[in-house]
């Protein structure tokens, strides 16, 4: 993921039509604005408008009076538990996946084109289509009757169901999350690892540095900002994912997206009609905070 578009000098001589087009202006706004109107109209109506409606509903109570009672409810009872659950799931899956994904990245960048292409293709599918197929694949392999469960029991005499683990509970969902978060880490962290230059390693060797010193003084400082920003993306992805958890738990595990799903599906308690909207806004706030950190980390990394 590169975040710096190659800036180009403005193009002036691209045929007369563009030049003529540029001369007009309307209400002080350059006519070139017209070219992105269709784009803005679509994203405005199908993205900003629904979010604005959610926000507006969230700051009204069931009698349509301005109120923050729905937000107060987020800090107690089931809703608080849901936010804590989502935080834990996002944080655990982030930590595990970031380490696994980074290790795979480091090994992967040294392979040749075809291996890399196939692995990044598989990673792409796992992250973008994951959801439902992933959930069922894991129920099938790690469920009570699953092949993996049986193999671990028969070959290693390890009963994964002896402890707290169940494919339908928090730990099961965490396991599945790692299987789409780690590939996501591979995809977003690979460009940073690829930027490590061979020359640096050679320079390190010429100067008599050991491999450990290379990792300690070059690899870690260079990669740290990218690693941190990738972690933030993983956290956001784990925090907001819905499909996998919904398919695996039937909405019984306290996670914010699942609670919202239940509220939307009509299990609304009287007087809490706008609670779902406040929960949705709560998720948006958390995501915005995470992405704000992400932007800060990227900015610091660029300044270096």
């Amino acid at each position: 993921m590169s975040h710096t578009p190659v800036s180009r000098a403005p193009v002036h001589n691209v045929g007369g039509s563009v030049r003529a087009f540029k001369k007009f202006s309307f209400l002080g706004i350059d006519r070139t604005f017209l070219g992105i109107v269709p784009f803005l109209a679509l994203i405005g109506y199908f993205f900003f408008y629904p979010i604005a409606v959610v926000f507006n509903r969230s700051i009204h109570d069931s009698h349509n009076h301005l109120s923050i009672s729905t937000y107060k409810a987020l800090f107690s009872g089931d809703y608080r538990a849901a936010f804590i659950g989502s935080f834990e799931l996002a944080a655990y899956s982030m930590a595990i996946s970031a380490v696994i994904g980074a290790a795979i990245c480091v090994a992967l960048v040294k392979t040749n084109g075809n291996t890399k292409r196939v692995i990044s293709a598989i990673a792409g599918v796992l992250t973008s289509t994951g959801g439902i197929p992933l959930a069922f694949s894991f129920i099938a392999s790690f469920g009570q009757e699953g092949l993996v469960t049986k193999a671990l029991l028969n070959i290693f005499h390890w009963d994964i169901y002896a402890g707290a683990f169940d494919i339908y509970n928090f730990w099961g969902i965490l396991l599945v999350y790692c299987f789409f978060q780690a590939p996501l880490m591979v995809i977003i962290f690979t460009p940073a690892v690829e930027n490590l230059k061979v020359e640096w390693q050679e320079a390190n060797e010429t100067l008599g540095g050991s491999r450990l010193q290379f990792i300690r003084h070059i690899t870690i400082p260079v990669l740290f900002p990218a690693f941190l920003s990738s972690c933030l993306l993983l956290f956001a992805s784990g925090f907001s994912a819905y499909a996998t958890a919904a398919a695996m738990s039937n909405g019984t595990i306290p996670l914010v997206p699942l609670v919202i799903g239940n509220l939307v599906d009509g299990n609304v308690i009287a007087g809490e009609a706008n609670q779902g909207d406040a929960l949705a806004m709560g998720m948006i706030f958390v995501s915005i905070i995470v992405f704000a950190f992400y932007a800060v980390v990227l900015r610091i990394a660029r300044k270096k």
Binding site: M1, P5, V6, R8, P10, V11, N13, V14, G15, V18, T32, G35, I36, P38, F39, L42, I43, F46, F47, P50, I51, A52, V53, V54, A103, V106, A107, V109, K110, V118, I122, V125, S128, T129, G131, I132, P133, F136, S137, I139, A140, S141, F142, F179, A182, E194, K197, V198, S240, Y242, A243, A246, V256, P257, G261, V264, G276, A280, I284, S287
Partner: protein, 260 residues
């Protein structure tokens, strides 16, 4: 960092490959189990096609995915090209707009869609197309933008217009072929996301392939696993073919050159 694979790297890749492939092989085995877990048959796969709800759900998903792809390309190719050529000063705005759908959780968008969209739109499953366009936009923007930066767009446009082509002709006959692989990438990612999307489909009460699969799991878990394995593997096969398309293309070109 191009250096030979160390033994440690090999171990990491092999262990990772093993861990990532095992669940899918195990799921494939599970999907082939016979009635009551005895023996192995294709019964679960044939069961899928016998279900009355399956083919409507599949076709709904395919139709929505195809329309989302068309709509997204129709909107994004002209916009990104325009921004690079004439609307440079809006580039930052478009880029930020295209990032936002990643930031906002889909569930929040779904709850908004349910209350904000007019009833006429909500009564048809085509509503989903517009939201799939929104959630795919970040990936498509990135892909197209990178593709366009790799070609010398101003030169191409100038050459085309000095030869007398209109703007539309230039777009369709010059620019789109020039960013062929980026367009193909955008098509693939949109199609894959649209086919696999669940949150919006279920929260807006539409019947797509994914919602059908989750409902079917309550009746026959083996069938749901079979459809999951089927969809994952078919997308992988498509993707591997797609990943090799540049390779195949260059191989064909070389062949052509040698023939000529």
């Amino acid at each position: 960092m191009k250096r030979g694979l160390r033994i440690g790297d090999r171990i990491i890749l092999i262990v990772a490959g093993f861990f990532f492939i095992t669940p899918f092989l195990a799921a494939a085995e599970y999907s082939l189990r016979g009635y009551g877990g005895k023996g192995h048959t294709f019964a679960n796969y044939t069961w899928i096609f016998k279900q009355i709800g399956f083919s409507p759900a599949l076709f709904t998903s395919l139709r929505i995915a195809a329309l989302s792809v068309a709509l997204l390309l129709l909107l994004m190719i002209p916009t990104v090209v325009y921004v690079q050529l004439a609307g440079r000063k809006w580039a930052r705005l478009v880029e930020i707009m295209c990032l936002l759908p990643i930031v906002i959780p889909v569930v929040s968008l779904a709850i908004g869609a349910q209350v904000a969209m007019p009833k006429t739109l909500q009564s048809t499953s085509y509503e989903l197309c517009f939201f799939y366009v929104i959630i795919c936009m970040p990936y498509v923007y990135r892909t197209l933008n990178t593709g366009l930066q790799a070609i010398s767009l101003p030169t191409l446009v100038e050459a085309s217009s000095s030869l007398g082509a209109t703007g539309l002709k230039t777009l369709i006959l010059v620019i789109v072929p020039a960013i062929g692989s980026a367009t193909l990438g955008a098509v693939f990612i949109t199609f894959a996301i649209s086919m696999g999307e669940y949150a919006l489909a279920v929260l807006l009460h539409f019947h797509t392939l994914t919602t059908w699969a989750t409902n079917a799991s309550q009746e026959n878990l083996y069938g749901s696993v079979a459809i999951s394995v089927g969809s994952l593997f078919s997308i992988w096969i498509l993707l591997v073919i797609f990943a090799y398309v540049p390779v195949i293309k260059s191989a064909l070109n070389k062949k052509k050159e040698t023939v000529e």
